[in-house]
């Protein structure tokens, strides 16, 4: 326990030291270029970040982006998990549906932005559509993979004991497929977070991506950097959240 704490403290020290060097180098370059619009110094950026945080502007936009992501991930899961289960359980169904998915999958969510802009206009629907689309494919594929890797003997054993098909799915297939599903969820969350920034940058009147672009147009670089940092922070927290789900719900598979 104590050694673990010491190790944590040690790596935190290394982290702070490295970031101090990084910030020092940034400060020197900023002083050398002496152009606050191109590259403001670290204290100016910190000041701007504190100002934006105090106005709650940063959190307001972060909340909007985060809300859109939660809605999109929920939608994508509701569509993708049942589809993936059906595809994994029935080879015939998979043969019918899979080519359509494989044809659409290489078209990135971002490539849908112009068409979606035309269909939905600027607003909430556009980023939600793009993010749902982006998260959909990894979740389908992860679910199919999860179902495919279920130990056949478990299903056979359940069947031998006369367990009905529905119960087999809910009690055997889903728990066994869960690790793979949660890994897929992690990819889906990462992809949809990237997509939300792109979608908001181009076609939404709010959200973190919008904030970045708004302040760029005003040439307020410290604010731009604050918003970019917030995008990183939320991205990191979301990833940590899904990893926590992984460990919490599938502790037997999270050891990797």
């Amino acid at each position: 326990m104590t050694s673990a704490w010491l190790r944590h403290a040690g790596s935190a020290g290394v982290y702070l030291r490295t970031m101090a060097v990084f910030i020092g180098v940034w400060w020197l370059i900023a002083l050398w270029t002496a152009n606050p619009i191109l590259l403001p110094t670290p204290p100016v950026v910190l000041d701007a970040a504190i100002g934006l945080a105090r106005d709650l502007e940063l959190f307001h936009h972060a909340g909007i982006s985060l809300g859109r992501m939660v809605i999109s991930i929920t939608l994508a899961s509701l569509l993708a998990v049942p589809l993936g289960l059906a595809m994994g359980l029935s080879p015939r169904f998979e043969r019918i549906v899979d080519p359509t998915i494989e044809v659409l999958r290489p078209i990135s969510g971002i490539a849908w932005i112009p068409l979606a802009l035309f269909i939905f206009g600027i607003g909430n629907a556009l980023p939600v559509f793009i993010m749902t689309y982006a998260a959909f494919f990894p979740i389908v594929l992860g679910t199919v993979l999860g179902v495919r890797t279920v130990d056949r003997r478990l299903i056979d054993a359940a069947r031998t004991m006369g367990v009905p098909q529905r119960t087999i799915v809910t009690r055997v297939v889903i728990p066994a497929a869960l690790p793979s599903l949660l890994v897929a969820l992690r990819v889906g969350v990462a992809l949809s977070w990237t997509a939300v920034v792109a979608a908001e940058l181009i076609g939404a009147p709010s959200g973190l991506g919008y904030g970045v672009e708004w302040y760029r147009e005003l040439l307020m670089t410290p604010q731009v950097m604050s918003f970019i940092a917030m995008i990183g922070v939320i991205g990191y927290i979301c990833d940590a959240g899904v990893r926590w789900l992984n460990r919490h719900f599938t502790p037997w598979a999270a050891a990797r």
Binding site: T100, I107, S108, I202, Y215, V224, I231, G235
Partner: protein
């Protein structure tokens, strides 16, 4: 269960796309609006765009930027990743910077790139380089760390210098992992370039720096040609597929001992 021939397999796979396309065409015909995109008009639009040379040119411009950005990313990530994978001290000290910036999506950097480098090729190359850097470095480090210790010990026993060991033992052993990183980097780079060109088109008022993303934006914002937008989307998907399959084939051909 009877084993299906390849043909009936293909047949089953084609049913759903065909049904969807026919439904789409039928709905489009019922709406009778000249702007509604339908499959037949999309094919015609594709013919026009390819024959005029606009689409191939835009694709080449975007691909050029992707490869430029990839080169920059490889030039930084490969040496750094090898150093991190071989020295615990380097890894401990550099990793915090990598991990701090990794969650920041490449697109989020775009406004800064525009501010620093303008709306031309340089900003687009920077975005691709940024996007490609992280999968490359993570996989290079992982590959360099996973070299079998026996190989390293054998090389050390034979009195090879550290540099020679890296060149003759570590790099060949890490190559499969580096290739995986390259594949991911190419995929995210291609997504990033489309996003960057779209955003530049949207934010710079269509100031023509070209590329397929910008082409799509012009069809959206200025000429409102949905058929052509869909042609571009299909092209984006096809290029992504060709890049991925091409790199995989290259990997299989150059490293036949690796199972993909």
């Amino acid at each position: 269960m009877a084993r299906d021939s390849t043909w009936s397999r293909w047949g089953t796979g084609l049913v759903l796309p065909l049904v969807l396309l026919l439904t789409w065409e039928a709905i489009g015909a019922m709406l009778q609006s000249p702007r509604t995109p339908v499959p037949t008009k999309i094919i015609a639009a594709a013919g026009v765009l390819i024959a005029s040379g606009d689409l191939p040119l835009a694709i080449l411009q975007s691909l050029g930027r992707v490869f430029g950005g990839l080169m920059v990313a490889v030039a930084i990530a490969l040496p750094l990743g090898l150093a991190m994978g071989n020295s615990r001290a380097v890894e401990r000290n550099v990793d915090p910077v990598v991990e701090t910036f990794r969650p920041i999506a490449a697109i989020a950097i775009l406004p800064l790139a525009i501010l620093w480098l303008g709306t031309g090729t340089a900003a687009a190359v920077m975005i691709v380089a940024y996007a490609a850097f992280f999968p490359l470095i993570v996989n290079t480090v992982a590959g360099a760390k996973n070299v079998h210790p026996t190989l390293l010990q054998a090389a050390a026993t034979m009195g090879l210098s550290r540099f020679t060991i890296i060149r003759t033992v570590v790099i060949p052993a890490a190559l499969p992992s580096i290739f995986v990183g390259l594949r991911i980097a190419l995929a995210v780079g291609w997504t990033a370039i489309v996003a960057a060109e779209l955003a530049v088109g949207a934010k710079a008022g269509g100031g023509g720096s070209g590329g397929i993303g910008q082409m799509m934006f012009i069809f959206y914002a200025y000429s409102i040609e949905l058929n052509r937008i869909i042609v571009c989307m299909i092209a984006v998907g096809l290029i992504a597929l060709v890049l991925d399959r091409g790199l995989r084939a290259l990997m299989r051909a150059s490293m036949p001992w690796v199972k993909s």
